[in-house]
């Protein structure tokens, strides 16, 4: 089943242009499933980079505008979209030229996978 899930994630990555990697982690950034192209920046896959999103999304949820669902970070060379699926976090890494709307639209496809991974992570 793990292979099937990885294949699903790989298909998702390949079907969206300029996506370099998709990582499903727990809230501390420990990877559960990971697919990545060769060009993916190694820094963006690190646990201490991904875990900052868990903290940020918790704090952003206190702003009185409801729960924070996703965050888009656009850097000079790359863009990173984090999806709040706590206790899991899904991080999509793409080049700066990728269509951000398409990256955000991956949410529903990712949700289908994440719902099956719920009991893999301790709650």
């Amino acid at each position: 089943m793990a292979e099937e899930m990885k294949k699903y994630l790989l298909d998702l990555m390949n079907s969206t242009e300029d996506v370099l990697g998709i990582v499903v982690t727990d809230r501390d950034g420990v990877p559960i499933l990971k697919v990545a192209a060769d060009e993916v920046p190694e820094l963006a896959m690190r646990p201490n980079f991904i875990s900052t999103f868990s903290m940020a999304t918790d704090q952003a949820g206190k702003l009185g505008m409801g729960k924070n669902h996703k965050m888009v970070c656009i850097y000079g060379n790359y863009q990173v979209v984090h999806f709040n699926k706590l206790p899991m976090v899904v991080t999509v890494i793409a080049t700066n030229t990728a269509n951000t709307g398409l990256l955000m639209d991956m949410d529903k496809d990712i949700s289908a996978l994440v719902s099956q991974l719920m009991h893999v992570v301790d709650i």
Partner: protein, 169 residues
């Protein structure tokens, strides 16, 4: 200053220790809550009264904790860094559990073909694809026309009554 939004008065009154509607419930500097009331405080009361007080104290503590968790205090956030062995251990656990996930069908991804208007990634790849042969195109057109003509010529030739009474004497 005389501005209506001035906070000068507020700060003055707070400095004097005066309690008003603007006084903060939680002291942002100390950020420490007295969660346990001293037991001697309740020592001379009846047990029911003590229970009631303890319930009130619990409720108060809950409100305080709730308020504290609703406060955005970035400075007080603890940056939890995982130890290397803990990280490796967790990766191993996740891999094991991942292999134990019962095989279920992952729902198919929503195909963009089903939508009339949608974003198409790599549009140049689709547009630069080889067009179909003219002969195939003509075959499709002529076949479709034949099918349409055949459908339009379908007739029902009834030889018996269309309404048949059942069991009516």
């Amino acid at each position: 200053m005389g501005c209506c939004c001035s906070t000068e008065q507020e700060s003055l009154s707070q400095q004097d220790g005066e309690v008003n509607e603007r006084t903060r419930l939680i002291d942002p500097v100390s950020n420490v809550y007295q969660t346990n009331a001293s037991s001697s405080e309740y020592g001379n009361h009846y047990s029911s009264s003590a229970t009631k007080k303890s319930d009130e104290q619990t409720a108060l503590n809950r409100i305080l904790q709730q308020t504290a968790s609703n406060i955005i205090d970035v400075g007080a956030l603890e940056c939890h860094t995982l130890e290397q062995h803990e990280y490796i251990e967790r990766v191993r656990t996740y891999n094991q559990r991942l292999n134990m996930v019962p095989p279920q069908k992952i729902p198919n991804r929503v195909h963009p073909e089903a939508q009339l208007l949608c974003d198409v990634p790599a549009v140049e790849r689709i547009l630069s694809a080889q067009p179909i042969l003219l002969a195939d195109f003509n075959l499709m057109i002529s076949s479709t026309q034949k099918v349409v003509a055949a459908l339009s010529h379908i007739k029902v030739d009834h030889k018996e009554d269309l309404v048949v009474p059942f069991g009516i004497p």
